[in-house]
């Protein structure tokens, strides 16, 4: 039984420190939230909501891009990278320093500990690169999270990053600076490999572990490749979420059980799942239903 000793998550009003353009329609917003930044781990997410309005009403889930440290190396803020796609992100892009947003988190399970693997490949499509920066830094011992000291966990990390076109590639320099070998693919050939990121990945030697985040067809292709290679694979899912904390039962995905499958909440049992545990919908072939 869980004891209500420490909060599982925090709800805070946060001050916007900066909100800068990283790529076309893609922004990095820096949110002052020391307690949250001290606790969040790579692969976890937070809910962001605009204060003082009922439209948009609900918060939206955003992956931790990375924490920000002060001069004494204490976590003081966190960065979120978002693509402008709808009502909420359009409004988010208009925020300026000292504006306020509502936050709650850290939420979700985060990435598994991959200590001891020689080579980990992170595979991203679209805006799916955002959870991976903190993961690279943690894996290569550049940064500790959630109070843990920095400790090198793996020898090498590669990022395979697929975008539709060159000007949507966001944060490539951040990943290179963090020490990842970055391989870019684009649908139109305007940058890097011309084709799908999973096709690019398939031309390389299998890594010891795969982690994917991106659109459903990409995740499916990645899981198939992992199966062919017999390489363990984790997927970070994004499903429509209302609360982020497990109370609304919106964000479910099909997970294998002893007698078939059952819907499980991505916000509390995920967002990171072992690809082998996900069950696809026979009708659509999709993980999400």
């Amino acid at each position: 039984m869980e004891l209500a000793t420490a909060p599982r998550f925090l709800q805070v009003t946060s001050r916007v420190a900066e909100n800068v353009l990283l790529a076309r329609n893609t922004f990095r917003i820096r949110l002052h939230a020391p307690e949250l930044a001290a606790r969040i781990r790579p692969g976890q997410f937070l809910m962001v909501r605009l204060a003082g309005t009922s439209d948009p009403l609900l918060g939206r889930p955003f992956a931790l891009y990375d924490t920000v440290l002060d001069a004494q190396d204490r976590p003081i803020a966190l960065d979120v990278v978002y693509l402008v796609v709808g009502k909420m992100t359009t409004r988010l892009a208009t925020l300026r320093p000292d504006d306020r947003v509502e936050l709650w988190g850290p939420l979700g399970n985060g990435f598994p500990d991959l200590s001891g693997r020689e080579h980990v490949a992170l595979v991203a499509g679209g805006i799916g690169q955002t959870p991976f920066l903190a993961h690279v830094r943690e894996l290569l011992g550049k940064r500790g999270y959630g109070g843990d000291p920095a400790r090198r966990r793996v020898q090498r990390v590669s990022l395979y990053y697929g975008v539709r076109t060159a000007d949507l590639a966001a944060g490539v320099e951040d990943f290179e600076r963090a020490g990842a070998a970055v391989h870019v693919a684009s649908d139109d050939g305007s940058v890097g490999f011309h084709g799908f990121v999973t096709q690019l990945l398939g031309r390389h030697e299998p890594p010891a572990h795969l982690v994917g985040c991106g659109p459903e067809p990409m995740l499916r292709a990645l899981a198939n490749l992992a199966g062919t290679w017999k390489v363990p694979c984790h997927l970070s899912l994004e499903t429509p979420m209302a609360c982020g904390v497990g109370i609304c039962f919106s964000c479910v995905t099909r997970v294998r059980t002893d007698d078939g499958w059952d819907y499980r909440r991505v916000c509390v049992e995920g967002p990171v799942f072992d690809a082998a545990n996900l069950a696809r919908d026979d009708r659509t072939g999709m993980h999400h239903g």
Partner: protein
């Protein structure tokens, strides 16, 4: 200040409850929400057999509201009693179980089973979930509503709350039938049936095609129905529908609700219910009142 709320046989520490389906099984909120501040918790609806729920997408945001079609995703009453109730009954607030049957017999069997359990303050009957196909829409027929409650009353000693749907022509007739059948109080409104469409794909957005609208968008409808029922039906009313602030709570109390349930707001402001409880004394003071009951049903 006397914040207590009186609902027939049921007395609550204060009139702020959290609504079924919007607070999980409370565990999820442990640590963030101080349960001892709440008037009570209504955990997610339980059905007799486990239900996987509807295919996603299950929710979609609309203007100042949201549609949901979760489909009563739950692991069944035996699992609820074995795994959730032992935790819930340790919490320092009133726990009101919520059940939904697919038939009258299921309601009666579940009420009998759960009525034997300790640690429950009351039982809410979900007569009105709009997202379960193949079932009977109990609370759209006065006779059926009356009969279900009468039969449940006979086998379950807990105070009974009949949760009513707004998707009817005359909610007062249904509320009266519930009261005549033996309900200690009625709670309203459940969600309003709605729909969202992606016109470019010519497809409904929800996996279930239709869903229930909730959130601030439905508050005026809820307020009107609570007012109508409270002045015409003898049992206490629990107001539900888009309640997010202390002002919303006061509006429902003045309209005739003896208590309220906060629902969708828990999704977008998880500490809202606890915060509103803290704001109640000042709001009562504005009306020169020193207790909740002094303001209930005082619309001029």
């Amino acid at each position: 200040m006397d914040l207590s709320a009186t609902l027939g046989r049921l007395t609550l520490r204060n009139p702020i409850l959290v609504a079924s389906g919007t607070f999980g099984y409370a565990r999820e909120m442990a640590g963030l929400v101080d349960f001892s501040k709440l008037g009570g918790i209504v955990p997610k609806t339980v059905t007799q057999k486990p239900r996987p729920g509807n295919a996603p997408p299950r929710t979609v945001e609309t203007a100042s509201g949201m549609l949901n079609a979760i489909g009563l995703d739950n692991d069944g009453i035996d699992h609820f009693i074995a795994h959730h109730l032992p935790y819930l009954r340790t919490l320092p607030t009133a726990i009101i179980a919520n059940i939904a049957g697919k038939s009258e017999d299921e309601f009666v069997q579940m009420a009998e089973q759960i009525g034997k359990e300790s640690g429950l303050a009351a039982l809410e009957l979900n007569l009105s979930c709009p997202n379960v196909s193949g079932g009977v829409d109990f609370a759209i027929h006065p006779e059926v509503t009356h009969r279900v409650i009468e039969r449940v009353r006979a086998v379950c000693p807990l105070p009974l709350i009949a949760k009513l749907t707004p998707n009817v022509t005359d909610v007062v007739a249904i509320a009266r039938a519930a009261a005549d059948g033996g309900a200690d109080c009625v709670s309203l409104i459940n969600t309003i049936m709605g729909m969202a469409i992606d016109w470019k794909k010519r497809r409904p957005i929800l996996g279930n095609t239709t869903g229930g609208l909730s959130g601030p968008a439905i508050k005026p409808v809820a307020l009107r129905m609570v007012w109508q029922v409270a002045r015409q039906v003898k049992v206490p009313v629990i107001g539900i529908g888009g309640i997010a602030t202390v002002d919303d709570v006061m509006e429902f109390l003045v309209a005739g609700a003896s208590a309220v349930q906060m629902g969708t707001v828990n999704f977008y402001d998880p500490s809202a219910a606890m915060r509103v409880v803290g704001q109640l004394p000042e709001a009562l003071g504005v009306l020169g009142a020193s207790s909740i009951r002094e303001v209930v049903g005082t619309l001029d």
